[in-house]
């Protein structure tokens, strides 16, 4: 197995086995040694793939919970680093799959909302052009928002869940959920110019209440 600069030996079966045995006996020094040795590496590996610090921290947490929960299952057939790498990789892949599923769900919800709001029928070709531009800006805006913030927005405005339930589902504080909702609302309002109707001549009044409702629905 190759060795890397600044890292401990990559594979040393007796040392790995001794470390694991000590952790099973709840020896704090051994626990700390494993955590110190791999936390930074798991974090950076996750960050490279997830490209978001909060998501990478969540992956680190899930990885190490899995490591210590299943420490009894480690048999020494592979090196400890390989074993931890396998858990980290699976954790990150699961997060990526969940993020993709949320993106697809949001895309479906967005398309459904656009279809159901085709009552925003433009009256003139100029109206239609303005409407299309507004929708494109809204889509671009949503593309710039992180996955968990998109999920929060969808849970609130498409599924009408209360803040507390949303916070529980996304494992964030209620304050973070509220801040995120406010931020996305502001981005959308800016994107479609909803705050200043005079900037969007031809934005059909029929669509206005729906957009305002989606952006400013009351929070409990």
């Amino acid at each position: 197995m190759p060795q890397t600069k600044n890292s401990a030996r990559v594979a040393d079966a007796p040392a790995d086995a001794a470390l694991v045995a000590a952790i099973r006996n709840a020896e704090e020094r051994a626990f700390g040694a494993l955590y110190e040795r791999y936390s930074q590496r798991v974090y950076l590996f996750s960050l490279l793939r997830l490209r978001d610090h909060a998501d990478a921290e969540e992956a680190v947490q899930e990885t190490f919970i899995s490591v210590f929960r299943s420490i009894d299952a480690y048999r020494g057939e592979s090196s400890l680093i390989s074993w931890i790498y396998g858990i980290a990789r699976n954790t990150v892949n699961n997060q990526l799959r969940r993020a993709e599923a949320r993106r697809q769900q949001l895309a479906r919800a967005r398309n459904e909302w656009l279809r159901s709001n085709s009552s925003m029928s433009p009256h003139t070709p100029e109206d239609e052009l303005n409407l299309q531009r507004s929708l494109e800006r809204a889509r671009d805006c949503l593309a710039s928002v992180s996955d968990w913030q998109l999920e929060v927005f969808a849970l609130r405005h498409l599924e009408n869940l209360p803040i507390g339930e949303i916070a529980r589902r996304v494992s964030r504080s209620s304050g973070s959920v509220r801040s995120s909702l406010y931020r996305v609302k502001c981005l959308l309002i800016d994107a479609v110019g909803a705050g200043d109707p005079s900037r969007e001549p031809g934005l059909v009044p029929d669509g206005w209440p729906a957009l305002r409702a989606a952006a400013g629905g009351g929070e409990s």
Binding site: A26, G32, S39, I65
Partner: protein, 47 residues
Amino acid sequence: MDEFREFLEADLSGARIDPKFKEELRRTLWDFVQGRTDREAADVDGS
């Protein structure tokens, strides 16, 4: 194999894990490990 090499060399990158998060997680994990051992000991005593 490339992914594993990235994992091995990840600590060569400049970005650092947030120290506050790292310490909070450490405490949480240690509580978990201790609690696990206490539960196992209780099972043995009770059997």
